[in-house]
Subunit: 217 residues, 2 copies
Amino acid sequence: MAKILITSGPTRQYLDPVRFLTNASSGQMGAALAQAALASGHAVTIVTGPVHLDYPSAATVVHVVTTQEMLEACYRLFPDCDGLIGAAAPCDYRPTNVAATKIKKTGEPFNLELVETDDVVASMGRIKTPHQWLVGFALETDDARYRALTKLQQKCCELVVLNGPSAIDSKDNAVEVINSQGDVVLSHSGTKLEVAQHIIKLVDAQLILGNQANLLR
Amino acid sequence: MAKILITSGPTRQYLDPVRFLTNASSGQMGAALAQAALASGHAVTIVTGPVHLDYPSAATVVHVVTTQEMLEACYRLFPDCDGLIGAAAPCDYRPTNVAATKIKKTGEPFNLELVETDDVVASMGRIKTPHQWLVGFALETDDARYRALTKLQQKCCELVVLNGPSAIDSKDNAVEVINSQGDVVLSHSGTKLEVAQHIIKLVDAQLILGNQANLLR
């Protein structure tokens, strides 16, 4: 039994009290991973942005809005977990300035200055101990495998799950899981629950049982 | 019996295939207005952005994503309707350029140039006939009544419903309805269905029955 932290859903970065940047991540992949991990006997904590679904009641759920809040929740929760699966799609840009009142239309174009948010999985990659593991997600539209492997390396992940924009807010997903050698160790299309079951089986075999075997040596 | 067009929910303006600007409008106010209008014996068509709720099955529902799509649907549908209630929160800025592939993080800030989208209710205000009516919504954070009345005048509305950000994605709403003389003709707090029932009652009394009386003169 492992303690698994799962990030899930989108985050929001507000420009003003009404408007925000986000993406259409629904939390379905995170919910499916939680269900599969619970069924494998693991304890699951989910850090989720705003979504319109119910997570498994056996999971502990922490609600956040912004990427910074997701990051802070992970800094607090990850040290007590064995691993993290980063299924969330945190908003990776935020406006430099957030207006206190609703921005008024003037008829003129305006420039919104955006800066990058801190990367949640990469941040956990910098604090993880040798016995903790990370599974990242990469959603790519071009040079997909190359970019996914680059993300795995930059974020110190053991595995990265590569999928495309068609996964967003869909019941189905088609993924490739790539390891740190760049090998495709799993390739599966199906419902998000089926995909999640395969990912958890792989995590069980390669990261959790592997870690326990390492600890026994 | 009138034919009522209701706009509902948010719209999205994409920066690239994944990220977009939007707001947290849930479509609940539009759904409540549809329910109240149907209960008053009217025919209802809803033009809605992406939401996670079910509209009344007796309404005709047209799904759109962007503000331009909502506008085009209204240009097509409004001429055949008696009136429009603009309960949607269309995204009122769009990126000048939409990237064909996911924008890559570089570590540097970047400027997103935004231009205003065409206003849906104001556009209908420019094409409406003397027998058609418009009810706008204004969501204001400051100078609320003044801005709401300005919107009513600019958009050629008969009535404007003023509410605040607390209405967004909430089961409840607190509204003031202002007429073209600037009088507050309705003030109500309660569930969105209760608020919707009061608005439809007002529309029935002041716009639909009024129009029919005018036609009989």
